[in-house]
Amino acid sequence: MAEPLDFETTLAARLQARAALAARPFDAAAIAIAAVATRPVRRLSIPWPTVTMRWAVLAGAAILAALAGALLAGALLRAEDTGPMLAVTRSDGVYLAKADGTEPRRLFVTDAESRLAWSADGTLLLVLNRPKADAWRASVLRTDGSVVWTMDGVEWAEWSHVGHRVAWADASHYVITDLDTGATAPPVWSPNNTWSSAWSPDDMRIVVIDTDGRSLVVGQLDGGATVRLTSPDIESLFGPAWSPDGRAIAVAYSPACTSPHPCGWGIAIFDVVTGRKIDGTEPTAQGLPDVQWSPDGTRLAWVEAGTGVVADRLPLGDGGGIRFRGDLLAGWAPDGRSLLVRRSGPDFGDFAPPPKLWRVDVDGSHEVLLLEDAWQTAAQPTP
């Protein structure tokens, strides 16, 4: 839920006032000269094309554009692909590609995405995007690009493991929509959190982070008793992930920290039955780790601050995990032998070269570049 506006407004004003301390007189020319001195630009001596040449260039570009359009149209009209597909968001939309990254074709035009997820049977794709500034929309698409369902104002959405149910949340509601029947209703037990939840493997429970941010709440969708998972050393939680057997939940955590030294993030594992934390890594990560269980539940993988880790489920904190390069874990391959990992260059952001999608064997022995320009990725499950 959003913080009350008054505190957020006050904080913004205080931060801006503090930031103003850095607003000092400066010599723009000196700064520019120092920057230029790090790498002089080689000036091109090629003359600007004549008017005739410009028309020739434009005509050539038009022909190339027409050819590209024809090729794209052909790609969009292709009826089917064989084998599981990758859904990937690129700079100009959502694409589907074969599992090896070949033959990408644009499915959906958008320039802002937050989340991609396949339904459990791999027939429908959930896209959470932002058509306009901070106005989010959930859409469910078929693989031919046709739209099955949309909902505006959705800030979080999650597929069930069975059927085509979507648990979604806007600023004030948590609701489940069954796309097969059209029924929409809040669960009997109504969670509070809007940003981070997960269905249990048997679809009977949902875990959310409670409004205090420090505990997980597991609710029975049939209205049974809730279970609270917490630990006194935890201040913040994000991204709960159920183990495939439904007995444990892994989650990123940050400890209660009042010392002058900043606290990082770690991975905690909770026993769903007892509610107790049963394992965890030291909170040394400077980024928020996105943890995912291997398909067989024996291992965990996560990525934080440019480094990925594959570790045995227990014990997590022995430091013996396999490490690989990456800045976002896109997911495990269904056979559990490799991971899909996103990597950016030395700097990242909307204006840097787009990140790339790699497949990395879990032992770190083999890396394959699958796709250029890949922001978010979801691997299609094979029923």
Binding site: A2, E3, F7, L11, A12, R14, L15, Q16, A17, R18, A19, A20, L21, A22, F26, A28, A29, I31, A32, A35, V36, T38, V41, R43, L44, S114, R115, R130, A133, D134, E155, W195, S196, E235, S236, F238, S254, C257, T258, S259, P260, H261, P262, C263, G264, Q286, L288, A305, D327, L328, S344, D347, F348, G349, D350, F351, A352, P353, P355, Q376
Partner: protein
């Protein structure tokens, strides 16, 4: 005349960027003059140190000069520059922490003439609260509340998902609310 109209249609930022990319150092100086202040403010919140902020912005300008040609939309120049400065500042803050130097100068840099004593005390509280955060969290706050980025822009600038960014910001707000004894 055609050239002037063309430049107006493309916008001043586009024209400046194109000229700088072609090696026009005067155009680059104008870009520095227009954006140094915004970059320095963000870098200061991330590092908590005026000297480190200067170092970060200097490094950011060197990067900007080398990579200006890769800027896909010149109208997003400010966001691009601020993102680079924030990332450089974050890197410096991390490196500083690894070398076990004092995390942040909390109050030493606040001896501002004419500052109201209450405002000064409040700023010291804020500086202490910022000091208890990591460079990543300070980067989120700086981009959101100093640079005015929305969650999607922050996500793209930091390589994270927008939903994760919003969640982290919400947690940060909750934490700062407690530490600053507000509400």
């Amino acid at each position: 005349m055609a050239t002037i109209i063309g430049e107006l249609e493309r916008g001043p930022a586009t024209t400046l960027v194109e000229r700088a990319v072609s090696g026009d150092e005067v155009a680059f100086t104008r870009i520095v003059a227009a954006h140094q202040d915004a970059m320095a403010r963000v870098a200061f919140i991330v590092t908590g140190d005026l000297d480190l902020a200067d170092e970060a912005t200097a490094a950011a300008w060197a990067i900007a000069w080398r990579r200006l040609g890769s800027l896909r939309d010149p109208e997003k120049l400010r966001s691009w520059l601020v993102s680079i400065a924030a990332n450089e500042a974050r890197g410096l803050a991390r490196a500083r922490r690894r070398h076990h130097v004092v995390e942040l100068d909390v109050a030493a840099d606040l001896a501002v003439d004419g500052m109201d004593p209450d405002a000064h005390a409040a700023d010291v509280d804020l500086a202490n609260a910022l000091a208890s955060l990591g460079p990543d969290d300070r980067t989120l706050l700086a981009l959101r509340y100093v640079a005015g980025f929305d969650s999607f822009e922050i996500a793209r600038a930091t390589g994270r998902s927008a939903s994760g960014t919003r969640a982290r910001l919400a947690r940060l707000l909750a934490r700062l609310r407690t530490e600053l004894d507000h509400g």
